[in-house]
């Protein structure tokens, strides 16, 4: 490494790499520092079972493909990323043997829903069509721009009379939960269960007041789930390639320990091993608020008040994910295929939640620090990815909603519970697809504690890097004084998932921080071709 760069980006997740790439393409001398031995953060693909089985340890579902500007601006596809949009995107299998399937073709989805409720199928059709109409506006307003405040949004909605024009958008969504939204518009429990589950896998927990505000957007992209062929890490490679081909530098195994501040200005970083590197123009942190303000900086440079607020007011998700990665020699054949054969082709299958109440009950269990009876969702990427497993074999993924910390034993208890709970999740899957008995070669677990150990920027296993709730959204995220990507330290920016919009492979935080940095550093916004 050299000892000075124009901009130093901390963290090589997709947000850090995205920001770094744009800046490198803008002619700046950029260094991206990564603590792990691999770039990508949540874009992590590893052979944790056997050679040739490519498991996405974290992000598996890419739902902002072609919606997020960086995908095009940074020529992600030219760099080799291949996305597949599975025809049967999702399914729910219910305990009575029935099943619902969400397709890339709306008519098929409606037909599947109509088997449960014709009225709901029609309602869903209208909701989907409406949301598709304004998805670009929503994305432009709510995701790929520095945030507005809820107040500004409400005012604009009122001024444009949106409420009168739309069946589903309304200012009161900001007080409602997804459950309430669903209850107002839908009648069938199973359909509601699936739609609530969909919110939850996107981290919009169905029982949290205010999250209905984001729900139309989720429906607008409900059938935009993409698989990254060869594993999600390929996107990380593409972003790195873009960065380096434009003169930027990624250095892995280089955890940042301090941000160096002189005269109220960020002037560089010190690595955990003591190496100091100068940043001539700016430092951008894509890691947690806690790391940035409590470890990398101190009250002297950011003020006692902010330090205190970071300690007490930064909120994290109250549930997280437990994963099982499987190497398999056969595809699941669900008993529910007798009802709907398409479940065998569904990419992601919700196993067993057949009402919103069942989901709510598990949230309550999880929030009290207990493990729920497993109702994992199962994905077989190999259905749509021709190269993620050896010939004749398949890669499987179970995800289960789970607490980070046990009421009895804390987070550390995962060390003992992991294998046991993994077995129970596998058993649950096998109950719905009995042919899997004997079809599983090997499996490995990734517990909530493992998430935090692998990505130290995700405290509490918080894969969204900050609670998803109305008062932790938009310009209030992660704290009002940090909501616009700038910090009290001049030249220091927050550019990771702690910021608006939030975690997930959205590219949003990095892209939005870029806009603010471009304004401050006088960079011409070549990427905004209007």
């Amino acid at each position: 490494m050299r000892d000075a760069y124009d901009v130093i980006v901390i963290g090589a997740g997709h947000n850090g790499l995205t920001l770094g790439s744009y800046l490198a393409r803008s002619g700046l001398d950029v260094l991206v520092l990564e603590r792990r031995h691999e770039e990508g953060g949540g874009l992590c693909t590893e052979e944790v079972t056997q050679p040739g089985f490519l498991h996405n340890i974290h992000a598996n579902y890419h739902t902002f493909v072609d919606l997020a500007p960086p995908v095009g601006d940074l020529e992600v596809r030219k760099h080799g990323v291949e996305y597949v949009r599975p025809e049967v995107q999702m399914a729910s299998i219910y305990d009575d043997g029935t099943a619902l399937t969400i397709h890339s073709d709306l008519e098929k989805t409606k037909a599947s829903m109509a088997r449960f409720s014709e009225r709901d199928a029609e309602t869903f059709g209208r909701l989907h069509t409406e949301a598709h109409g304004y998805i670009d506006l929503l994305l432009g307003t709510l995701m790929y721009q520095p945030p507005l405040s809820v107040k500004e949004l409400t005012r604009a909605l009122a001024a444009f009379g949106v409420e009168d024009r739309s069946e589903f958008l309304s200012v009161k969504l900001r007080r409602e939960s997804i459950n309430q939204f669903l209850d107002q518009h839908f009648e069938n429990d199973k359909i509601k269960a699936h739609l609530a589950f969909h919110g939850a896998v996107c981290s919009y927990t169905n029982d949290v007041p205010g999250l209905a505000i984001g729900y139309p957007l989720l429906i607008g992209k409900i059938d935009n789930w993409h698989l990254c062929v060869g594993g999600s890490h390929r996107l990380a490679h593409a972003l790195w390639r873009d960065l380096a081909q434009h003169g930027g530098t990624l250095v892995a195994n280089a955890g940042v320990g301090r941000i160096l501040v002189e005269g109220g200005r960020a002037v560089g970083v010190r690595l955990e091993d003591g190496t100091e590197i100068e940043a001539r123009k700016a430092v951008a942190s894509t890691v947690s608020v806690e790391q940035t303000f409590l470890e990398f900086l101190d009250a002297e440079s950011v003020g006692e008040e902010l330090t205190q607020r970071v300690k007490s007011d930064v909120k994290h998700k109250d549930w997280t994910l437990f994963s099982v990665h499987l190497a398999m020699n056969r595809l699941p054949e669900y008993e529910a295929a007798a009802f709907d054969p398409d479940v065998n082709r569904a990419w992601v299958v919700n196993l067993g939640y057949d009402s919103t109440r069942a989901l709510d009950a598990d949230w309550a269990t999880i929030r009290s620090g207990q493990l729920p009876e497993p109702k994992p969702n199962a994905a077989v990427n190999s259905l749509y990815d021709p190269i993620d497993a050896p010939e004749g074999c398949y890669t499987g993924l179970l995800r289960q909603f789970a607490p980070f910390s046990f009421a009895d034993g804390g987070a550390g208890a995962w060390e003992r519970a992991g294998r046991w709970y993994g077995q129970r999740c596998v058993d649950a899957w096998t109950r719905y697809a009995p042919n899997l008995d004997g079809g599983i070669i090997e499996w490995a677990v990734d517990t909530p504690l493992d998430i935090t150990r692998k990505l130290v920027n995700m405290p509490h296993g918080d894969w969204m890097m900050g609670e998803i709730s109305l008062d932790n959204m938009l310009d209030q995220r992660p704290l009002p004084e940090l909501g616009e990507y700038r910090t009290p330290v001049t030249g220091l920016y927050m550019a990771g998932s702690t910021q608006h919009p939030h975690g997930f492979i959205t590219f949003g935080p990095g892209y939005n921080a870029l806009q603010v940095m471009a304004d401050d550093l006088g960079i011409e916004k070549w990427w905004q071709q209007i």
């Binding site: 409406e130 304004y134 670009d136 506006l137 307003t141 507005l148 604009a156 001024a159 444009f160 209007i530």
Partner: protein, 154 residues
């Protein structure tokens, strides 16, 4: 009375807009200059734009007022653009004829909006005034027929 999409017509639209904006309290009008392109894409139904053609009008707004406009023959004029509004000619015709609401057209995706949404949202009041002026204040002449057109798509 001016024919749709002619210099006269735009002149009239401009005057109408500026008159309305002039009535607004000063603080409702942001300072600064913006450039927007309106792209009217021929759709075979509107007689005002050839089926394969696109007509583009570049508009400059300064301090809320429409400073000038001109028809251009390139999608990328020599100014740095702040907004681009793109939609089928029939839809724009219907908007001008006050038969279709422009906000609806944006919400249902028939008119695509590119540019800084944040600013549009923050200036919702002003935007509404501009749109109203566009749709209702000019006495438009439709020499080749007025929408709804027979057999026009959506």
């Amino acid at each position: 009375m001016s024919d749709i999409y002619t210099a006269d017509w735009y002149e009239a639209v401009r005057d109408a807009i500026n008159a309305k904006v002039g009535e607004l309290p000063a603080k409702a009008v942001p300072e600064g200059a913006w450039h927007a392109v309106v792209e009217i894409v021929g759709d075979g139904a509107s007689p005002y734009v050839g089926a394969e053609d696109t007509r583009r009008f570049l508009v400059r707004i300064e301090n809320g007022m429409c400073d000038w406009y001109r028809e251009i023959d390139t999608p990328n004029p020599d100014v740095s653009l702040d907004y681009r509004f793109t939609g089928p000619a029939t839809v724009f015709d219907e908007i001008a004829a006050a038969q279709r609401d422009p906000v609806d057209a944006a919400l249902d995706g028939t008119v695509k909006v590119r540019g800084d949404m944040r600013f549009l949202m923050r200036q919702a009041e002003l935007v509404k005034v501009l749109l109203e002026a566009y749709t209702t204040s000019v006495d438009t002449e439709w020499p080749q027929g007025k929408p709804p057109y027979n057999g026009a798509a959506g």
